[in-house]
Symmetry: C2
Subunit: 397 residues, 2 copies
Amino acid sequence: MIAVQEAENIILSQVTNYGEELLPFEQALGKVLAEDIITDRDLPPFNRATVDGIAVSYVAIVNGLNTFRIKATQAAGQEPVSIDEPDECIEIMTGAALHASVDTMIRYEDIIIADGVATININDIKRGQNIHLKGKDKLNGDVIAKSGRMINAAVVSLAASVGKTSLSVKRVPKIVVISSGDELVDAADIPSEYELRRSNNYTIKAILKTQGIDADMMHMPDDKAIIDIKLLGCLQTYDVILLTGGISMGKYDYIPQALEDAGVTKLFHKVAQRPGKPFWFGRHANGKFVFAFPGNPVSVFMCMYRYFLPWLNQSLGLPKELPVYARLSNDFTFTVPLQFFLQVKLNFTNDGILMATPIEGNGSGDFANLADADAFIELTAEQSNFKAGEVFHVWKF
Amino acid sequence: MIAVQEAENIILSQVTNYGEELLPFEQALGKVLAEDIITDRDLPPFNRATVDGIAVSYVAIVNGLNTFRIKATQAAGQEPVSIDEPDECIEIMTGAALHASVDTMIRYEDIIIADGVATININDIKRGQNIHLKGKDKLNGDVIAKSGRMINAAVVSLAASVGKTSLSVKRVPKIVVISSGDELVDAADIPSEYELRRSNNYTIKAILKTQGIDADMMHMPDDKAIIDIKLLGCLQTYDVILLTGGISMGKYDYIPQALEDAGVTKLFHKVAQRPGKPFWFGRHANGKFVFAFPGNPVSVFMCMYRYFLPWLNQSLGLPKELPVYARLSNDFTFTVPLQFFLQVKLNFTNDGILMATPIEGNGSGDFANLADADAFIELTAEQSNFKAGEVFHVWKF
């Protein structure tokens, strides 16, 4: 049995690059960017009016002029119009490109227009006001989104603005989720008095879906011969196998042996934690990974957020996520020398402190409360009495 | 011009129920549950072994027995096997249902088995240990997930466990995203020196996609006749129109007039905020809504998170989200009497405090920094000097 930190270290030492693929930029939302997005022009690409009004030359203002003949009207998207005389102005709309002969904009709110003449009715005018200068945000060739980051709505928007209609993104591993156990029937079936419906496979598939991954699903009976065949097939087809159940000390817990028979080397089995103690992790010589979680639903949930998703995100090249810390709202006691993952509900106090309130549960078998929880708070194995106000790492889901 | 709080109040007074639909439970992930999920059996449905080992009658332990003849082996999913004599035990696997004749489980780790006899090698044994009692988590008919909540992976899992293979969920409104402005070309096109590529429509579509909504997209030129026709069509087809651009004071900003001509009543126009001051919101007599955002990308982003998503979530019946508060990391000054939405990066200190660090930007026109930000921090209009350590509401994206 190894400590949680050691399990994490072993898993993160196995981070794997699954390569890149090209996607239409809109479909790249939620993926990890595998190239820098670079501007193809200055941003903004021209001196851009940020208000509707008139554009003048600041020199004229300095020389005391406050009435200007409107030479032309220029809409956004039109070729810039010049003034020929200092007492001329261009009536110009937000988003339009200013001609080099004008350098200052006065808003409609600050002028009166009559008979083709605009009269300014404010005094405090600054050179260059209400203009977003060419290249002020970024210069042509600047990186606006770096390789290795998550593509969110802002990145999609930036890609559109520079005409990057396809993006290189990190490829996600091909994953199969396998449930096991003869006591489990399908969600659509009626279980006998001694059976349960499968749910762990749906849990994992749903968690993966929130990460933009469509995983396949499979069920294995407690039959070593069938398990052997199915595992060999999956080790051919998939990059990662996520298993639930069948890894404890039971007589029909064939999976650890079947995995070793299939050539998967055990990297660890059993972690000093509750829930999730029987967690098994291994790697095949062909580079495929097996995360075998215990069969209880809370263990599965915890192991996915505590171990699998950090491995996945680092395999996709994302930087290690900044830890989230919260303060425990109540005293809590857990005397077993295991790292304890307590289900909590999170909220912010109005002075910016994240509070974690334990949700009453009946131990690792109780997953009915999981729907009400926001996170696990990780309580260290070395400690038994956890005091209200103490701060611990939380794993949000 | 109205205050931010007033704009929020007006928008939230227009929360609208778009009804329900039935979905296969796996497809319901990310939707809002529109029915209670109820257990169809006790949870657990039987006295369930939580370890692998032997099941005995506690009375025998009290009477001093510590060796037990193994009467049978019972796998999970099998019909429970009884003991007939007090010195018998059943070898039983995790997940199996216990017969009424046994009430206590001893782990394999705590026994030695030889010649069909198990000898217990621990002393401290409690009645009922290592058994998850029938009905301990929930009783038959209990609600395990309440109507009106988000369906996350835990809820999908619970639905599977009680055999709810289809779920009633809240229907999302049908949405079209319309960009406008003659200076805008498609992301795939090469703009002239005075044009830009469209991006706001992609921003909005991507934000909606993160909420599980597939919106349609459309572009309108600065031509009142075309705008009139397109708006009338959209008001027939969609529940909500999200518009960007064309709502300022410019000569070609036809949209507010076109909306009123199409029968959309203005509920407000202009909010005392930066960015996003020209924001326009209205409602047609037929119940359709128009959120018309200014054309600059940061405004669009802010208005979506500050106004539209809260309206959407409350329309779907979700409870008002608990506010997120963060502490400003640096002094910041903003003297204009507008509510200021500052782009920030968030991180937790290791004592559980959420810190918001401003990202340097060039005002509302600068969206290149948005990709680096995590949230807007909302700085009140009544204040000009914001001190490091002061706490404000943040809007995460």
